[in-house]
Amino acid sequence: MKNIPEIRLEHIVKRYRGEGGLNDVSLTIQDGEYFTLLGNTGGGKTTLLHIIAGLVKPDAGQVLFDGMDITKKKPYERNLGLVFENYALFPHMSIDENISYSHRVKGYDPQETTQISREFQHMLRLYDREKAIPSELSGGMQQRVALGRALMNMEGSGILLLDEPFKALDAGLRMNLRVEIRNLAKSEKLKLTVIHITNDMTEAMMVSDRIALIRDGKIIQIGTPKEMYYQPASLFVAYFFSDTVYFPGIVATVEDSSYSVIVAKDVAFKVDNPITKFQPGDGVVLVVRNDYFKIYAEPVSSEDKDNILTGKISSIKFMGPFIRFSVILEIGFLIAVDIASTHGVREKFPEGQNVWLTFNPKKAFLFPDPGEEKLKELYFEI
């Protein structure tokens, strides 16, 4: 019923003096896709969203809806719904006036407007509050009003832009609303194309069809949540999506696609099928997720397992579903490993206990070594 366009950005450039600029960003968002722009503050997410909405003019590049160049169109000619970070509900208007604003300023039939507005209020479970003003509502309700106001303005486009929509809400409410907003977007009635901005990795994983990770005005990687998690394209992506341990090293041998990486004197780790290919002698960083380690209280034979590390537990943190052990390795590193907090784990691994750690060669990542400086910068930045 609705004609939902594909959104295409081509070589968008926007220069700012401080943070928030964009450097040659291109991406395509499909019909009916739930797309998330993920990245830290100042990375350029909001700038990109405002360029799509027309609030910011790009210095170069094009914005296309269904192949039509709309870069020069005014924001009020674009008919898309934008939910602002703090909602920006008009403080001097009632809920009903806020929601129906777009139809009123376009001069649509008042009776029809009222009816559509009521329908949206009903859909968003805003009962009997049409006369209230925004400041009288709870945070969750304000968010639904902002959503309703945006939905009213989407006729013919079906594009919904969400700028950190859950930032101002309590943690518990946030969880529920994530599911709710995705269901709404995917519902038969609306079938929206959503572009959602967040700096919360979990949120992005929960709601998205695809995620684009943005950093310093550049897209680092685009992919489904699974791809981002299991096939990170760079050290940054790997680190952004989970807690990791890293070992700088040098590739010693390559057999088929099995790599041997020397990380310390007489210590080599095996890595199978890394995403990037390397030559012997290349400097690399070997990355393992904290929760990919297995821990043993007695020696493990190198015939049973690959990649064995020995060390001593220096401290223990109980995190709920898992326990985080800080382990001082014999080769001199201090690493954190996360072990599921099943029955008896704590008793078995007290502080000061000598432990043996292993990880699966298939689950480690290899990335080119960015140099010690860069590595430190990256790990401290996040």
């Binding site: 027309g54 924001p75 934008l82 920006a88 008009f90 604003y101 106001r149 009213m152």
Partner: protein
């Protein structure tokens, strides 16, 4: 050495701890409020009671004089009507030319924006009598714009037209400033939201921006109206025979017609108090018919062409009508004159020496005034922000604005009636009475910036200091004072500049002491144009320096925003 220093420090801390006890705070509060009531509120109440007590005398001189009948009353009535018309027209014109300027300065980014912003504030710094003189020279004399067209008389002779131009100019910064403040305080995100929802620029302004800023606009308009209603210094120069109400007060005071002056002062003060009350209490209830929406016409008016045209027009009107007019006096001094300027200044009547004494007087009065308002205004600011006296705070908050609204000539006269010979008989017309009046009308200028910076500052810092063992007074010295320092400086400069430029109040209470704005008036009346222009230029240059310092001081700093 270190030991000694430590001992000294310990003593200071001990004294501060002692003085932090509640009873000293109470004494300080009492002194502060007492001073405020005596110096500012007292004279105003007194003038109402004087009129009431000596009603018979007033009736006989104003309404039933044996020779002139109710001539005095007729003069007052005419003057009041004129004042209202001028003020009303000036404010409407200012709103029309000031609103686009305020929008330009808050919602657009362009090169030279800071410079334009500073230029807009200029008429605020120029003493009004110098400003009036500049307007007269530019529009009213052959050496101004008429000269460009080869005319040998000015475009307008002294009278209503020149008064109107002058009032438009000196109220312009008031309007633009208050509009700017409310526009800045209104987040742009509301406008962005409306734009993405399909509203073109003009509709956004009408449905979103203007309802959100209307209270600020109304307050600014009323304030500018009150200022115009009470202006003396500039008006006296350009008025000719067309007398506005404050001029009539000055004239009656000069003619020692005390009862009549008291009566007119009371009327003016009463009107302005009503206006002030309107700002405070009624502005929230005023509504404009803004609900209706007209899509097509507004879409047309929102086109970039109109926006550009509006911006350019705002700047052009400002430069031609406001800026050049008020700056014209600077060029006048360098034009050849007859007799030459130096001959006039060194003439037999010792104008040079006179100018010098007046300059000293102006600075001395300004300095002493500033010290007094600092000493009394800062504690008052803290009382208003920090004490939890419920209604009393907001009452004081309203009361301190009174001198902003009422005509300074009337305030001067009220002070004369209260502190001078007709009242308590403590001060005689002259230096100290001038200082006393200046304290009264500069009080809000001092206290407002301090209040706003205290309100913005982080209360947590003071609490932190107290939990770390500092007494209240030590906390004030080490934490609060450094944070609000710039607010105090801004207030002090504003107070000093206002004192330096005041004419009306000084005219009423000066005795034989003269300040620069007053000798400008004297010399213009004596047709010593060159000397008057020279005196104006000197005082304008000083005022500019003050304005520059003020802008530098009130710039937001990183430290304060933390």
């Amino acid at each position: 050495m270190r030991q000694e220093k430590n001992q000294w420090n310990t003593k200071v801390l001990a004294v501060e701890k002692e003085l932090s006890k509640p009873r000293y705070r109470k004494i300080m509060d009492a002194i502060t409020i007492g001073f405020f009531i005596f110096v500012i509120i007292g004279p105003i109440i007194n003038i109402f009671s004087t009129v009431f007590v000596s009603w018979d005398e007033i009736q006989s001189s104003v309404f039933n004089d044996s020779l002139t009948g109710d001539l005095q009353w007729q003069i007052m009535g005419t003057a009041l009507i004129r004042s209202f018309c001028i003020a009303g027209l000036a404010v409407v014109i200012d709103l029309i030319i000031g609103l686009p300027m305020a929008i330009l300065l808050t919602r657009f980014e362009f090169r030279g924006k800071n410079f334009l912003d500073a230029m807009v504030d200029l008429p605020l710094a120029i003493p009004t009598s110098a400003l009036g003189f500049s307007v007269y020279l530019f529009w009213g004399s052959p050496s101004g714009i008429a000269g460009l067209f080869g005319l040998d008389v000015g475009f307008f002779s002294p009278g209503p037209m020149l008064i109107l131009i002058t009032h438009v100019i000196f109220t312009y910064p008031f309007i633009v400033r208050s509009l700017k403040i409310v526009l800045q305080e209104t987040p742009k995100v509301y406008e962005d939201a409306a734009t993405t929802l399909g509203a073109p620029g003009f509709t956004v302004f009408r449905t979103i921006t203007s309802p959100l800023v209307k209270e600020g606009i109304i307050a600014g308009v009323i304030l500018a109206f009150a200022r115009s209603l009470g202006e003396t210094g500039a008006t006296i120069i350009v008025a000719g025979l067309y007398e506005t109400a404050p001029l009539v007060i000055v004239k009656m005071r000069r003619a020692l017609d005390i009862p009549a002056a008291a009566f007119l002062s009371m009327i003016l003060i009463g009107i302005c108090l009503v206006l002030l009350a309107t700002i405070k209490f009624l502005s929230r209830r005023v509504g404009f018919p803004l609900k209706k929406i007209w899509p097509t016409g507004e879409r047309f008016l929102s086109k970039p062409f109109f926006r550009k045209a509006r911006n350019i027009l705002a700047v052009v009107i400002f430069i031609v009508f406001i800026f050049i007019t008020s700056m014209f006096i600077l060029t006048y001094v360098f034009q050849p004159q007859d007799p030459p300027l130096w001959e006039e200044l060194y003439g037999a009547d010792l104008k040079w020496a006179y100018l010098w004494t007046s300059l000293m007087n102006s600075f001395l009065i300004g300095g002493v005034t500033t010290l007094i308002v600092m000493a009394t205004g800062i504690p008052m600011a803290f009382i208003i922000v920090n004490r939890k006296w419920k209604k009393v705070n907001s009452l004081l908050d309203t009361l301190i604005d009174i001198p902003l609204a009422i005509p300074s000539a009337a305030l001067g006269f009220a002070t004369f009636m209260f502190w001078g010979p007709p009242g308590l008989n403590i001060f005689f017309p002259g230096f100290w009475l001038i200082v006393w009046v200046h304290v009264a009308f500069t009080f809000p200028y001092m206290i407002r910036p301090v209040i706003s910076i205290i309100q913005k500052s982080n209360k947590g810092l003071e609490d932190a200091s107290r939990t770390l063992g500092a007494s209240n007074l030590t906390t004030f010295r080490r934490i609060t004072l450094p944070i609000i320092k710039n607010g105090i400086l801004a207030g002090a400069i504003m107070a000093f500049a206002r004192s330096l430029g005041e004419t009306g109040a000084t005219l009423v209470v000066m005795g034989d002491v003269r300040t620069i704005p007053v000798i400008i008036v004297d010399w213009v009346e004596a047709q010593a144009m060159g000397s008057a222009a020279f005196a104006s230029v000197i005082i304008i240059l000083f005022a500019f320096v003050l304005l520059l310092i003020l802008r530098y001081v009130s710039k937001p700093r990183r430290v304060l925003n933390a």
